[in-house]
Subunit: 249 residues, 2 copies
DNA sequence: ACTTGATAGTTGTCGGACAACTGACATCTG
DNA sequence: CAGATGTCAGTTGTCCGACAACTATCAAGT
């Protein structure tokens, strides 16, 4: 079940992460009902053949994500099946989120060029004057319906030396993963409500439409910012949910 | 430093939680610079007099919150000082969030009555037909400027038998904490962009204003929903940030 | 200049032990 | 009988010590 044996060879997930992923899958499959008690830590130790330390860390992760509630002296319980889907704080690409929801994601690039970085972008990405960035404009579709417009900027170092903008198709995250680019680890997102953003190249663009603006800065494993995305989600076509968890216990 | 000794008497926080809180304070005070290495686990064991298990769980919590990055064989590092303030996924009351940001929170109640629950509310809160709910309408201010309008509904059982609506002033969370009400543990929030909400009793209400709508259902320790809040935040006056963390490692 | 190996420092995982809490049941007390 | 108290099994919280695995650095060798 879990990839527990042998050397990690630099890319295996940690055991608690694997276990948390597996349990999250089982929760998503509604293997236990809401409010029901999960197997005890001892049970999970026996079932998965890992130490109680590992089990406890996995359960703690799930609790941090709001999926379960751990009660001392009693056990762990499913918090609520309504919350089992991923919240907005889970950092995955928009297209894979659409796919997870059971829809067909797609993407139409309108614009995709290398240009010199602006002074603001130099500051954000810690670039020198004259360094290049990739400038992307595209729209994102779910089941052939436009869901969002996205304006993305990535510094040139993210891509290989022989990179050509035309090579980029589909999800940026997927492209980076396939070409040894940086791995997204965290992002800081600011949420705004906006009406009629200035730029919109699209014909079927309703001028009085409302949008949820997600202004995001993505960081890689070394805490370097490598992507700035400004995404305008058409209000009502994309459901943003956030699981909020109390910091105190 | 930490409340480590003696019986817990039912309400002491767990040691990892206390330690995480303390380290979060020190991070907020910029005791270490962004990217800088934190004390090693062994150092923290020596400094706080707790076991390495406790230290590791506290660090893992901070990593889940996006404040630090743990790297095997190297140590823990401050992720970025820009992220140190609380994100939207941290469940605290709006007023305390305003206070944490260094502003003066305030609240003006426009409406505060007990009324029978609607059929939708019966379903949400699992009430019987005829049960009462408390219906609140208020606006929230920061430094005497209106920041948001909030419409809240709570079932009657949340309050003591002799409760009168007039007794409720200031933060609802603070009131509940002071009167043995339910403790908020999680909330599921949906985010929307809206223009001119139907209801607005206020004179200084700009009809063409934009709002970020936060539609929240709050759950207590036993995973029972106990409060539904529909808050309209005036766009630009309240900064919503979400720290998004990658689920994979 | 490049590779290899050794080494110290750090996090990851393990097993066992005991403390503290919870719920259920039995027992005592009036 | 009603309520308080004691006991017990089950579960999570915390601790300790040990070793494995990974990282960065440096010395030695080619």
């Amino acid at each position: 079940m879990l990839d527990t044996g042998g050397p990690r060879l630099g890319n295996r997930k940690t055991l608690p992460t694997q276990l948390a992923d597996d349990l999250r899958d089982r929760l998503a499959k509604a293997e236990w009902r809401r409010g029901e008690q999960l197997p005890t830590e001892a049970d999970l130790v026996a079932e998965y053949g890992v130490s109680r330390t590992t089990v406890r860390q996995a359960l703690k992760t799930l609790e941090n994500q709001g999926l379960i509630i751990i009660r001392r002296g009693r056990g762990s319980f499913v918090s609520s099946d309504a919350m089992i889907r991923a919240g907005m704080q889970e950092l995955t690409s928009i297209t894979s989120t659409i796919a997870q929801m059971g829809h067909k994601p797609d993407m139409i690039y309108h614009h995709r060029i290398l240009r010199p970085a602006s002074s603001e972008e130099c500051e954000i990405f810690d670039l020198d004057h004259g360094d290049q960035v990739l400038d992307i404009q595209r729209k994102i579709l779910a089941d052939d319906v436009t869901v969002a417009y996205s304006y993305d900027v990535l510094p040139r170092w993210v891509f290989a030396d022989d990179f050509q903008p035309d090579q980029l198709t589909g999800s940026v995250f997927a492209f980076l993963a396939a070409h040894d680019g940086p791995t997204p680890l965290r992002a800081l997102a600011r949420v705004h409500a906006v009406a009629r953003p200035q730029v919109a190249w699209d014909e079927d663009f309703a001028a009085d439409q409302l949008f949820v603006l997600l202004d995001q800065l993505h960081y890689d494993q070394r805490a370097r910012p490598f992507m700035h995305t400004t995404s305008y989600f058409i209000e009502g076509r994309f459901n943003f949910t956030v699981v909020r968890v109390s910091p105190t216990r």
